[in-house]
C-alpha cells in the first residue's frame, strides 16, 4: 500500500516535470521548415548573456519562419549529448552559446556532415563548424573609460565570471580603457568562478566597495546582477554587460556593453538558408553592428559632456579602424 502510494506520487511528479519540460521546448512544428536549435549554459531568462541569445533565436523565428528549439542549463559534460541529440533530430543549425561549446561541436559535427554547427565566442572550427567571436573587448574598453572618468576615489572594480578567454578579454580591455583615461587609477578585479552565483557576485562587488571602489562593473552573466545590486545598495555607480541593464537599477547603471547576439544568430541563419554557411572562425565587432554600448538613459545629464565626447570619439575610431582595442586573452596584472 505504502509502496503503491510512493510510486503513484513519483509518477505524478515525473509527469508534471515532463509537462513542464514539454511546455518550454519545441515551439512550432512544420514539415520542411529550417530547424535551428540553441544550447545555453544557464537559464534563458537570466537577464543577461543567455537572455540575449534567446531573444536572437525568437527574432530569427519570426523573421525567417524557422522552427526553433532550445536547451537551458547545459553543462560542459552534457554539451556533446545536446549537440548530438539535435543533430540526430535533423536540425539544420545548432548553436552553442559560449566558449565552452566549441570543441564539443567539432567532435559531434564530424559525425553529422549535413548539419551546420556554430559556437559563439569560441575558437574551434571544422568543415561544418563555425565560431563567431564577438569583439566584446571593444565595448569593455569603453566601459573602462567611462568608469575611470566617473570615479571620484580613483578606485574602480570589475567582477568576472570564469577566468576564460571570452571573459578575460573584456576585463583586460576594461583595465586598459580605465588606464587610458587616468593612468594612476586603481582597478580591482576578481573572478567568482561562476556565472550563476549572484550572492557571491554581490559579495565580490561589496568587497571592492569596502576597498574604496566607487564604480563597479562586471562581465559575469547572471552573477553580475549581484554586482549591480551591490552598487545600488551602496549608492555607487555601475556599468552593465551584454545588454542595456539600466532597468535593473535605473539610478545606478550608467551604461552597458551591448552584444547583439541576435545579429550574430540572424547572420548565421541567413547563411545557412542561402547555402553559404562555411566553417571557420569569424570575428564580428562594432563595425559589423554586433558589439556596441548602450545609451546613458537617466545618466545623459549626469555624465560630463567631455566624457561623452571622449567615448564617442574613441567609439568612432574603433569603428573606422584607426584604433584597435588590444585583444588580451590571458590575465595580466
Amino acid at each position: 500500500m505504502k509502496k503503491t502510494l510512493l510510486v503513484a506520487c513519483l509518477v505524478l511528479l515525473l509527469g508534471m516535470t515532463a509537462l513542464m519540460a514539454a511546455g518550454t521546448k519545441e515551439q512550432s512544428v512544420a514539415a520542411d521548415k529550417m530547424k535551428v536549435a540553441l544550447i545555453l549554459s544557464g537559464p534563458a531568462n537570466d537577464q543577461g548573456w543567455n537572455a540575449v541569445a534567446f531573444a536572437g533565436l525568437k527574432e530569427a523565428e519570426e523573421k525567417y519562419g524557422i522552427e526553433t528549439a532550445y536547451s537551458e542549463n547545459v553543462g560542459i559534460a552534457d554539451s556533446e549529448a545536446a549537440f548530438r541529440d539535435y543533430a540526430a533530430q535533423g536540425y539544420d543549425l545548432i548553436i552553442g552559446h559560449g566558449f565552452q561549446y566549441g570543441d564539443p561541436a567539432v567532435r559531434v559535427a564530424a559525425q553529422f556532415p549535413k548539419a551546420k554547427f556554430m559556437a559563439i565566442e569560441s575558437n574551434a572550427s571544422s568543415d561544418n563548424v563555425a565560431s563567431y567571436v564577438m569583439a566584446c573587448e571593444q565595448a569593455g574598453y569603453l566601459m573602462g573609460m567611462l568608469s575611470a572618468s566617473m570615479s571620484k576615489t580613483g578606485t574602480i572594480g570589475i567582477v568576472g565570471g570564469f577566468e576564460q578567454p571570452s571573459i578575460t578579454k573584456v576585463l583586460e580591455a576594461y583595465k586598459l580603457g580605465a588606464k587610458a583615461v587616468n593612468p594612476s587609477i586603481k582597478v580591482l578585479e576578481a573572478y567568482v568562478s561562476s556565472f550563476t552565483d549572484v550572492a557571491l557576485g554581490k559579495e565580490a562587488a561589496l568587497s571592492m566597495a569596502d576597498q574604496g571602489a566607487d564604480v563597479l562593473s562586471h562581465c559575469a552573466n547572471q552573477a553580475g546582477t549581484g554586482v549591480i545590486k551591490a552598487a545600488e545598495e551602496r549608492g555607487l555607480l555601475a556599468t552593465g554587460d551584454s545588454y542595456d541593464q539600466n532597468s535593473i537599477a535605473p539610478s545606478t547603471v550608467m551604461a552597458s556593453t551591448v552584444y547583439s547576439v541576435p545579429a550574430v544568430v540572424m547572420t548565421a541563419v541567413e547563411k545557412v538558408q542561402s547555402g553559404t554557411y562555411e566553417g571557420g572562425v569569424y570575428n564580428l565587432g562594432m563595425k559589423d553592428g554586433v558589439v556596441d554600448i548602450s545609451g546613458y538613459n537617466s545618466f545623459e545629464d549626469k555624465i560630463p559632456q567631455a566624457v561623452k565626447d571622449l567615448i564617442a570619439d574613441t567609439r568612432a575610431k574603433i569603428l573606422d579602424g584607426s584604433f584597435v582595442v588590444p585583444l588580451i586573452e590571458t590575465r595580466t596584472n
Binding site: K2, K3, L5, L6, L13, T17, M20, T24, G42, P43, A44, N45, D46, Q47, A51, V52, F54, A55, N73, G157, G160, E163, L188, E189, A190, Y191, V192, S193, S194, T196, D197, V198, A199, L200, K202, E203, A204, L206, S207, M208, D210, Q211, Q222, T225, G226, K229, E233, Y243, S247, I248, R331, N333
Partner: protein, 312 residues
Amino acid sequence: MEIFSLTLITTFLAATVRMATPIALAGLGETISERAGISNLGVEAIMLSGSYFSFWAMFQYSNPLFGLLFGILGGIAVSLLHAWLSIYCKADQTIAGLALNFLILGLTSFLFLMQFGQTTTLPSIQTIGRMEIPLLSKIPVIGQAFFNQDPFVYMLLLFVVLILVLFYKTEWGVILKAVGENPRSADTAGLNVKKVRYTAAIANGLLGGLGGAYLSTVKLGFFQENLTSGKGYIALVAVILGRRNPVGVLAAALVIGSAEALQIRLQTLGSNIPSQLFAMFPYLVTILVLLFSIGKSHDPAALGVPYERDKR
C-alpha cells in the same frame, strides 16, 4: 598590506557574517533533523523553496513579515515531503533528499518563469534593511560585524542560544537524542518516534526556509533560477564540521564564510595566482578542518535508518 587595516578587518568580518548566515541557519535546521535520525540531503531544496516563496510573497504583498512567513512555509513544505517519504514510505533518505534538490530546482524555476516570463527586466523587491543595535554595535572590530546587521543575523544568534538550551538543558533534547540514537528503546519508553521526527523535520524546514529567504529578501532583493547555487550542500558540510552542535555549526559556517570572503579580497589585491585556485580555497579549508577533526565525530546511531516498529 592594506588589507590588514582596521576598517578592512571590520568589513571583512561583516562580509564573513553575511556569507555565513544562510549556511548557519540551514545548518542548524539540519542539525535538529539529524539528531532525530533523519538525514535530509535536501537542504538545498529547502533553501531554494524558502527563497522563492519569500520572494514571491514580498513581491505580491511587499510586506517583510509575509516574506518571512512564506519563506518558512516554503521550507517546511519541502522538509515535510522528505519526512513523509522517509518516515511513512521508508524511502532511502539520501536518494529522497537528492531527488528533492532536483525537483525543487525545476519547480521554482518553472513557477518563476510562469510568473514573470522570459524578460530582460529584473523583478525586484525592497530588501530588508540593517538594524543597528545601540550599544553592542560600538564594540571595536566585531561590533559592526555582528550588531549592525539585518534581523536575520540576530535571529540566527537567538536560534543558536535557543537550540543550545533545547539540546542540553531540556527534556526535549534528551527525547530528540533518544529517537536518533535508539528509536526502539525510545518507542518502548513510550515516546512517539514518528511525532518527534516529524517535529524535527518541521524545525529543519523552518530554519532552512529562513536561510533561503535571507538570500532573496535580504541579500539580493530578487530571485533567479538556482539562486542558492549549492549553499545547501555547504550547509550539510557545516553540520558535519560543527558535529551537530549549534555553536559548532555556527563556527563552521563562519569559517567557510570567512574563507569565501577572504578569497575574493585576496583576488582584488592583484596577484599572479589563477582565480580558479581562489575558488577552491573555501573547500580546501573545509577539507583541512575535517582532516584535523577525524575520529572525534559521532553520528547518531539511527541516522538515516527508517524506524519500523514491527520489525527487529
